[in-house]
Amino acid sequence: MSSIKNESSVIALLGQPNSGKSTLFNGLTGARQHVGNWPGKTVEKKEGYYTHNGVKYTVADLPGTYSLSANSEEEVITRDYIACGNADVVCILADASQLQRSLFMLADYAGINRPVILLLNLMDVAKEQGKLINAKKIEEKLGIPVVPFTAADKKNYAPFYTAIDKAFTEKRVLNYEGLKHAYEETIGKIYQEIYDLMPREGLDEYSPMWLAAKVIEGDAPVIARVKNALDNNSKQMLDEVLNKVKGGSLLTGECKFTWIDGILQGAVTGKKQSPTLSGFDKIATSKKWGKLLAVVIILVGLIASFIPALPFMGIGAIFSWLADPIRDALTSAGAPAFLIGLVCDVLINCIYFVMSMIGFVFGVNLVFGLIEEVGYMARISYSFDNTMARLGLQGKAIMPFLVSFGCTMGGAASTRVIDSWGQRVLTIALAWALPCAATWSIVPVIAVAFFGGWAPLIVVIVFATSFLIMFIAAKVFGRKLVSEEERTGMIMELPPYHKPKWRNLLRSVFVRTKDILLRALRVILLVSVIFWLLTYSSDGIVDNSIIYKIGKTIEPVTQFFGLGWQTFMAFICSAISKEAALGVLSTLFTGAGTVFSSTIGGGSASNINEILVASISQAEALAFIFAVTFNVPCIVALAATYQETHSAKWTAAMAGFYIGTALVLSCIVYHIGILIF
């Protein structure tokens, strides 16, 4: 039986987060762990031990940090622990599947004179990626043991144990001559001047090169320690040189990456990610063709969204046809007229409208969800970047715009990603022009009712007009809100294309559709009941109801914009909620006109669509579609806009602009419609 030596050799595990440190720590120590805090700190300290060949090794799992700079408490604790000589050997873990980034810890360590080994973890992942890593070659360049392994594979720790034994025996430190050379070449005179001022023997385990690099980076704790070790004259000289340093962390960072590239050169082969894009992606991300492709795909998607809508419309029609039999049944059962009106004129029509619109909501959500799911949405954002610039917006304004397709309120809240107040206000002002999910649900319903097979064309024209309004809004609001200098560049990581996960996509679409369905039902029902009550008159004559009197008074004005008083009322209510417009139409045209008798809109028609078509001209319907689409999005979006802009003035200006635009558009469209129809 072998005896275990009492004195313990200390191994420190060092690496970036997710480099596999904890996996290795657990693999080595098992239950022989102690977790506490670093003295006087809140940072967790984990230590444990294992025995191998009769030697007890204490393992310290150092905090996972990106580098050894002084950006966080963890980083300072980590480097001080190593520099004070607490560890006999340092094991640096690097993710073999992404060595360019994970070797940065090694580069930042270079210049610390403690024996070290490099563990290339996640070799299995690197292999899956088709990468071949020549550890021997890296070992030659670094002058330290380099071990390719997988921390999760406990059965194959033998190369690690061998490397540890070797490290304790040979006590090899990292060869950092290449990095020193890079500092001398790239930073030049300034580096040399600072290097010459560093203590000749370094400080603790820190070499003069490591100290010089950190001083150039502006690392305050290191500068303070170095100054402590210098005489007054040298301190003054150091301050003078430091004043000449511009972008120190960029200079040293560049040298470290050059050093890493040099180490990996010829040592990593295999599948390499090409910086070039595929043929389709070249078009999809092209500034010229990308937008055209995006518009075509979106338009095809919008037209395709009519397909799943048709079955829902059929179900809605069944409800509409049920109105008369239910009315007869309730009448013969002796139900009060009030109840009959409420059920047959309000409830059934509400259900019909909601069922009709929900098909479009489902279709539009499915199409946009699919575009997003396959990874194309990011390309749309990218290809529209220069359009954003032309609108005076930052590239990231695409985020609130995309959200606004779902909900303008969400879009307004999303503008928090934009730092500049002016940019934020302008983004909201433009986001209002984008038709939200509610608009996409009511516009096709009305378009189908009035224009049948031409409905997709109406939808496409509405979509195109929204872009025109965005440009106009940018011109109107942009001048006072943004300046050219505010625009900043942006980098986007385009996700790889992938097959859609249909289950996730459908689940998400169903959830969205269900939520919109419930909200629409609530809004339409509430508005319908309110307007239904407003049509009430004590004598049963519709002409004496409040709503009729108001309507007839304002009609000479509303007709100028191509809207009858009923459609104008619906337009006003669409500013509260888009869906409310359907509730108003439903009540004013089919809501019996009074509680007691059906008079308005030719009550003989059993289907609400037929009633609407009989009561509203196609030109007026077209005017109504445009008026509702470009009206104020909804009352909640208005509140969100005020909350985000903190400006009643700008919120009111936006509301005024959009109400005005909606009416001007309805006027234009109406008169064009008269010429066409």
Partner: protein
Amino acid sequence: MLSKLLSLLEEGRAWSLEDLASALGTGVPEVKARLEYLEHTGKLHQVRMAGGCDSDCKSCSSQCQCNDFKMPTMWEITK
């Protein structure tokens, strides 16, 4: 390369990682490694959007489902 990367961003346009790698004459992994460094040193930051609002969706009454939108990862210069 780090300085050039920042100066390209200061032009004010959007770059995909692939385009940026081509412009810098290197590969995407090399660019990503540098982005991480620039982010760590505070020169760049990731544009994060947790649905645009600070609270989680469960406690949100707006039902806008803005968190459902999967935004691409973006970085911009820290001012």
